[in-house]
């Protein structure tokens, strides 16, 4: 058993740390640390800086501008970004579509789309879920019918994150109703500016706008935008989901949030003592810290087995469940630690140009909002119930 990084890995860690230190914009970091959404421009500037360094798509092959990072390098990079409060790289292009194109796309598709992801010419979003197809994704109904060199797409997608920013969407569509539902699905790339596409905002319960509904009415899509073979889209989608589910532990982010929570609790008073001294609060906090410490090891164990050539199976489901629940626990305790101040919901107080009354502590401006917003973490990317189904099937063979 050896938990240490190699010398090379340690050097890489130092390099990442110093890059972040030199390049992160403080006002963006503050937004990230307070959990409020950053703007599209914030993201784009950050993507550009990373791309200049060659780190926007570190796991990609060198021929496409990547660094061929292994799981440990990827882990180091993500953890350092997490603790520094760097914006998350918007995953839909570089993290999700790109692996699919590299494995299943045509040479033209790869050569055309991959560079544009790095330059930021395209902002991708993901068209998977539909109103009737959430956990049961294979039941999706949005149809694509071939007419000569085009597909005509009709239907509706939902829960589409950042569709309001995107100019491209990759979609699962139904191209056949024969056989099992999984067998009639294709994977296609659609220009968001095509006639017949309408995007409607979904406002979440905290009042923020991240997700959208997208309506497709007779949308013409060039047939060359089909990825791989017609009716084989389910295979590509599953490949993508496996990719999506690694690295959900979020340990560094959660550690950073715990530090912030501790600071809040040191400053707050209960019974005229620091809240951190209150036995019930201290006990809640310590339990979360221990859970997180355990998760850190659980996550490293999974990484180590991937590094040793074992495929990550249901382990990523375990990490999805724990990562989401621990982050929710922290958000929950942060809300509790604010006492009556938790009523406040003034996310704008964290942005420039706010001219309302000062919110103190500043974290209170969006703490309850964030708590409610983050209930999504156990719902999206395969709900935790779906993860338990996976564990039950793959690891327990029930």
């Amino acid at each position: 058993m050896d938990l240490n990084f190699t010398k090379e890995q340690e050097n890489f860690q130092i390099e990442v740390r110093s890059f972040l230190n030199d390049n992160l914009e403080p006002q963006v970091v503050e937004k990230v640390k307070n959990g409020i959404p950053i703007t599209k421009e914030d993201s784009e500037r950050w993507h550009q800086k990373l791309n200049e360094k060659g780190w926007l798509a570190g796991t990609w092959p060198k021929q496409y501008g990547g660094q061929e990072w292994d799981v440990v390098e990827k882990f180091i990079f993500e953890e350092e970004c997490g603790s520094a409060g760097a914006p998350r790289i918007v995953p839909f292009g570089v993290g999700m579509l790109a692996p699919v194109l590299m494995k299943f796309g045509s040479l033209e598709q790869r050569d055309y789309w991959l560079p544009r992801m790095l330059t930021g010419e395209d902002w991708w979003c993901q068209g998977y879920s539909e109103p009737g197809s959430g956990s049961d994704l294979a039941s999706l109904k949005t149809s694509a019918v071939r007419h000569g060199d085009y597909y005509i797409v009709n239907g509706q997608k939902t829960w589409t994150t950042f569709a309001q920013h995107a100019n491209m969407i990759f979609c699962l569509v139904r191209t056949s109703n024969e056989g099992k539902p999984q067998e009639g699905i294709s994977f296609i790339l659609i220009d968001m500016n095509s006639p017949g596409i309408e995007v409607r905002s979904i406002i979440t319960l905290d009042g923020s706008h991240e997700v959208n509904e997208i309506f497709f009415s007779d949308v013409k899509v060039p047939a060359k935008n089909l990825v791989g073979e017609e009716n084989k889209g389910w295979t590509y989608a599953k490949y993508l989901l496996t990719h999506e589910r690694t690295g959900n532990a979020n340990v560094a982010v959660s550690k950073r949030k715990i530090q912030k929570l501790k600071k809040l609790a040191d400053d707050a008073k209960k019974n005229e003592q620091p809240l951190s001294n209150d036995p019930m609060f201290a006990s809640r906090l310590a339990q979360i810290e221990i859970d997180l410490q355990n998760l850190e090891i659980t996550n490293l164990r999974t990484l180590a087995s991937v590094e040793n050539g074992e495929a990550p199976g249901a382990e990523s489901s375990i990490i999805k469940i724990l990562g989401s629940e621990i982050e929710q626990d922290i958000d929950n305790l942060t809300r509790k630690s604010l006492g009556k101040r938790a009523f406040v919901n003034e996310p704008d107080a964290l942005s420039a140009g706010y001219n309302g009354a000062e919110v103190f502590p500043k974290a209170a401006a969006y703490a309850s909002g964030k708590y409610f917003n983050h209930r999504k973490k156990s719902i999206y990317a395969g709900s935790n119930e779906i993860q338990k189904n996976i564990i039950s099937k793959l690891m327990l063979n029930l």
Binding site: W159, K336, L338, F343
Partner: protein
């Protein structure tokens, strides 16, 4: 043994329930609740016309209710409606305090029934101090026998529209001492008062108030100088009973919404309510909600028993806090993405239910209080 409400109360509850179902649309409520005012004046008037405020007020102050059972019945109905208008602040907190005041102060209660004034209790201070006796705001006695108040009050709901503040303050004792607390009832336009107001997550504006050398005459004290803790304490206990009952109404609505969703939402070809894992979680929620209701009934029964009131109130607030958060989180999870949207009712009920834990002491505070009693 009989747990049924009296026929009159049952009628009142049914009337309110029907009213909220038909006349108090949640989308209108949400617009009002998150407006600069924080509630709807029109709805406030319409509901007062129904006699809701009277049902919270003692007959001797021109109401026709005001007992623990009245309050619990009405607030459960208000919870079902997710009512954001200031019934708690005016009909409970201010009314209970003013009913212990002099004739002029008592008459303010009657005026609230005519919509001629809107008195608001300004008691809460440091965000994480939930003790009822926590008052730092200073009352100083001037040479001429009048008083001045200086200090800060925090997280006061519906303060921006208030006509009067009932300000707790102290001239003696530690910040947590029960002795030395006074209450001053003053118009909100009195010099030296500053109001900073914020939007809230669950609806209704909330304000921080700053009092700087605000002058008070001796007739403006409610009760005797330094002796008003019991008034505040009783008003807040009544407030706790009210919001615990509100939480019951909210949980019942959440139960209805969730059950309906489980029956209609299909995945893998069947309603998701057919999945046993979901059934068992829903059954557990139902068990918890029944226990929450029992805790409120218990607090209602003992409300007028001086030796038992605080303990049963703390047990109820603890139960509501713990179970309420569970119900809110589980119901959102069982709804999947739908539970996360502004457009759908559930999330708004869930937000209010969770935030009730932040009013008058959270589950930890009341468990500790229960232990100490």
């Amino acid at each position: 043994m009989d747990f049924k409400p009296s026929p009159e109360r049952q009628i009142l509850f049914d009337t309110l329930k029907k009213y909220f179902e038909n006349e108090y649309s949640l989308s209108d409520r949400n617009i009002a609740a998150h407006s600069d005012l924080g509630y709807s004046k029109k709805a406030w008037e319409a509901m007062r016309d129904l006699g809701i405020l009277e049902s919270l007020i003692d007959p001797e102050l021109d109401g026709f209710g005001g007992t623990a059972l009245d309050i619990s019945t009405v607030f459960e109905a208000l919870g079902r409606g997710l009512v954001v208008e200031p019934f708690l602040e005016v009909g409970i907190l201010a009314a209970k305090v003013l009913s212990r005041g002099n004739d002029a102060q008592k008459s303010l209660v009657k005026k609230t029934l005519e919509n001629e004034c809107l008195p608001i209790l300004a008691h809460s201070e440091r965000d994480t101090e939930y003790s009822k006796s926590y008052v730092e705001t200073k009352l100083s006695v001037e040479a001429d026998g009048s008083y001045k108040i200086s200090g800060a009050k925090r997280m006061i709901k519906h303060a921006t529209e208030a006509t009067h503040f009932l300000v707790t303050c102290r001239n003696t004792g530690d910040a947590s001492s029960e002795e030395g607390i006074s209450i001053a009832c003053i118009p909100t336009d009195r010099e030296g008062i500053k109001i900073d107001s914020f939007a809230t997550i669950d609806g209704g504006r909330v304000s921080d108030l700053t009092f700087t050398n605000v002058s008070i005459s001796s007739e403006e004290l409610v009760g005797e100088l330094g002796m008003s803790y019991s008034i505040v304490s009783h008003a807040i206990d009544t407030g706790i009973l009210a919001i615990c009952s509100e939480a019951l109404g909210i949980m019942e609505r959440i139960k209805e919404l969730t059950l309906e969703y489980l029956k209609t939402r299909k995945q893998f070809g069947v309603p998701i309510g057919k999945f046993q894992a979901i059934q068992h979680r829903m059954a557990q929620l139902l068990v918890e909600i029944e226990q929450a209701r029992s805790s409120v009934i218990n607090a209602t029964i003992y409300f007028d028993d001086e030796t038992e009131r605080e303990k049963t109130i703390s047990a109820a607030k603890f139960s509501i806090g713990k179970i309420g958060t569970l119900v809110a989180e589980e119901s959102i999870q069982l709804h999947g993405g739908m539970g996360m949207t502004w457009e759908y009712d559930l999330g708004h009920y869930a937000k209010r239910l969770v935030l009730i834990d932040h009013e008058f002491g959270d589950e930890d505070f009341h468990l500790q209080k229960y232990i100490s009693l």
